[in-house]
C-alpha cells in the first residue's frame, strides 16, 4: 500500500518534469536574466560593460520618464479588449447558435486572417484608413469628419488595428464556451417566463463567463504589450510602452531601462490579471 503511494508520487513528479524544465528554460531563466539586466548600473554601455550595482533607481527613473506611454498602453489595450468583446460576443453567439451547417465554414473564416502575416494585415489598415481613401472621403462627405481631419495616425487607428488583430483570440474562447451551453437550458428559461433579454443575462451570459474571462485575458495581455500597431498606424503621440521598450533596447542601447520597463509591464499585467480573475469570481470556471 505504502509502496504504491510512493510510486504514484514519483510518477507525478516525472510527469511534471517536462513542463517544469520547459518553464525553467523558457521562463525562469530569461526572467532572471531580465531582472538582472534591469538592475545594472545605468551608466553601463557595450564599451564599458554593465556593472551589477542593484540600481533600483532604474525603476524610479523609467516610471518618471515613461508613465504616459504606460498609461496609454493600458487605456488602448482596455479599449481594444472592450470592442473585441462586444464584436466577438455577437459573432461567437451567432456561430454557436444560429449558423447551422455553416458553423465550420464560419470558424475557418475567423481563423483565415492568420494565413496572412500579422505585419501585412496591419499594413493593409493603412490603405483602408488612408487620408484620400474611401473611408475618410465618405466620412468627410457626410461631415462626420471635418475636411482636414484624418483617421490614420490617430489613436482611433491604433485601437482599430489592435481590435482587428486580436479579435480571433476573443472569438475562439467565446465560441468554445458558448458552443458547450446546453440549448435546452435557454429553452427552459423561456418556459419559466423569462423574456429573451432576461434569459440571456440569467443563463447564457453566466455560462459563457469562462470564455469571456479567457478571451479578455488573451486579448488584453498581448494588446498592452503590442508595438506594431502603434508603430504603423500611430503618430508620435500614440506611442505605446512596447515602442518605448523597443527603442530603448535597439536605438539607445539602454538595456537597464528597457529591462526595468519590461519587468514593470509584466508585474503590472500580472497584478491586474489576479485582481480581475478574483473579481470575476471565475476561479472555479477556468
Amino acid at each position: 500500500m505504502a509502496e504504491t503511494t510512493r510510486r504514484k508520487g514519483r510518477v507525478g513528479y516525472l510527469l511534471i518534469l517536462p513542463g517544469g524544465l520547459w518553464l525553467l528554460l523558457f521562463f525562469a531563466f530569461p526572467f532572471y536574466s531580465l531582472v538582472a539586466t534591469s538592475l545594472y548600473d545605468p551608466s553601463g554601455s557595450d564599451f564599458r560593460g554593465y556593472e551589477m550595482s542593484y540600481a533600483f533607481g532604474n525603476y524610479v527613473d523609467v516610471i518618471r520618464d515613461y508613465w504616459q506611454p504606460m498609461l496609454r498602453s493600458l487605456l488602448y489595450g482596455a479599449t481594444a479588449t472592450f470592442f473585441c468583446l462586444v464584436l466577438g460576443y455577437v459573432l461567437a453567439y451567432a456561430i454557436a447558435f444560429k449558423s447551422g451547417r455553416w458553423k465550420v465554414l464560419l470558424l475557418v473564416l475567423v481563423i483565415a486572417p492568420f494565413f496572412t502575416s500579422f505585419l501585412i494585415r496591419t499594413l493593409s489598415w493603412k490603405l483602408l484608413l488612408a487620408d484620400d481613401g474611401f473611408v475618410v472621403d465618405t466620412l468627410q462627405f457626410v461631415h462626420i469628419l471635418g475636411a482636414d481631419d484624418r483617421l490614420l495616425a490617430t489613436p482611433f487607428a491604433v485601437v482599430a488595428g489592435l481590435t482587428y488583430n486580436f479579435l480571433p483570440f476573443m472569438v475562439l474562447p467565446l465560441f468554445a464556451s458558448l458552443d458547450k451551453i446546453d440549448y435546452r437550458l435557454i429553452e427552459a428559461s423561456g418556459d419559466l417566463y423569462a423574456n429573451p433579454v432576461r434569459a440571456f443575462f440569467k443563463v447564457t451570459w453566466p455560462l459563457s463567463l469562462p470564455g469571456v474571462v479567457s478571451g479578455t485575458l488573451l486579448t488584453f495581455i498581448p494588446a498592452v504589450g503590442d508595438f506594431i500597431n502603434a508603430e504603423i498606424l500611430g503618430n508620435t503621440n500614440t506611442r505605446m510602452i512596447g515602442n518605448v521598450i523597443q527603442s530603448l533596447f535597439t536605438d539607445a542601447n539602454d538595456y537597464p531601462a528597457a529591462g526595468a520597463l519590461s519587468v514593470i509591464l509584466m508585474l503590472m499585467i500580472l497584478a491586474m490579471v489576479i485582481v480581475y480573475v478574483r473579481r470575476a469570481g471565475t476561479e472555479e470556471l477556468l
Binding site: T37, M52, F56, K126, D131, N237
Partner: protein
Amino acid sequence: MSSVVGSGRGAVTRRRLLQTGGGLAVAGIGAGALKLPFFDAPGAQQDPASCVAGDVSSSDSSLIISNWTGYIDPRKKEKGTFQQFEDSRQITVSYTDDVNDNAEFYAKVRNQLGACEPIDRDLIVLTDWMAARMISLGWIQPLDKAKVPNLHANLIAPLRGRQWDADLSYHAPWQSGLTGIAYNAAQVGEVRSFDELLHRADLKGRVTLLSEMRDTMAFVLKVQGADPDDFTPEEWENAIEELRKVVSDGQIRSFVGNDYLNDLAAGNVVACEAWSGDVIQATFENPDIKWVVPEEGLALWSDNMLVPNLATHQANAEAWIDYYYEPEVAAKLAAWVNYICPVDGARQAMEKVDASLVDNPLIFPDEQVLAETFDFMPLDDRQSQEYEREWANVTGG
C-alpha cells in the same frame, strides 16, 4: 476534474502573490550583499587581431554578404554585375538583403561579435556611424591594402579621410547618398527648407522625419544655427528642446525608417525628410514627387562594406570590394540603384551604360554640392548613449 484543477490554480495564485511580495522584500534587503551569478555583462569590446578565423578562400570559393534591400542590380541577369563577378572570379556568392536598420542589425549581431563568436558573414554593409562604432568596438577586420588597390585608387575625394577611419583600413563605401527633402507637388506648394518642415502650418501632421537620430538631428541643429559637424552640449539641448516642442504641437506625423515614400505617394504625407536614391526611384513612378536641396544644405553619408571578425572568406570579400571599385562595374550598379556612386571614373563609364544618367546630380553630384554637405560629428560612447536616449524620449512620446 476541471474543478479540482481550477481550485488548485486559485490556491497557487494566492500563494504566488504572497511569495512575490515576500520575495521582493527579501531581494530588497539582501540586495547589497548578494551578487547575482551568470549574468555579469563585461564590455563587448574585442581585439580584432585575436578574433581571426583561418581564411579558407583559396579552398572554398564562396562569399557570404549581408546588405540593405534594393541595393544591387538584378542578380539573375546575365550581364549584371553580380553574375559577372561570380563568373570571372569563380566565387559563389550567397547574398542576403537582411539589413533593414543599423540599430536592429547591431542588436542582431551584438551577442556574437561581442563575445568573439562568428556571425557567419564575410561582408556586412552599415552606415557611417554604425561602422565607426563597430570598428571602435574591435569587431571589424582590417582590409589587406594590397588586395583592394581599386578602392585606394578610385574612391572619390569627399569620402576620403573620414575621422573614424581616415586611411580606409577597415571600410569601403558601397554606396553614398544625400539626406534632403522630398514633397508631393500635387498636394502642397513648394517646400524649400527643413525649417518649413518643422514649422509651416499647412504641413501640420503631414510631415515625416527619419527615425535615425543623426539624420534628423543634423538638420534640427542646422535650423537652430548650430554646426552638426561640431556642436556643443548646449546647442544639442536647444535643438532637442525645439524638436520636442514641434512634436508635441503635432507637426510631425511619425518618425520612419524605410517606408516613408509610400505615404508620400499615397498623399498621407505631403513632405518628408528623405534619402536621395529613394526619391529618384520614386520620381520615375510618380513625377509629382520632387527632391529638394534644403536651404540648410544636404547631409552626406555612405553605407560601408566591412569584414566582421571571424569571417572565413576575407580574401573573397576583398576581391568583391576591388571588383566593385572598377569604374565600369560601379557605373552599372549606380545605373540601377541610383545612389551616389563612390567611384571615380564611373561617370565616364556611365556614358556607355546609360547616357541619360551622366548628368544626374543625385548620382554624380558636382564637387560644389559635395563640398557644402555636412556630416554628424563623431560622438563618444557616453554622449551617444545620452543623446540616443533623449532622442528616443522625444520621438517615443
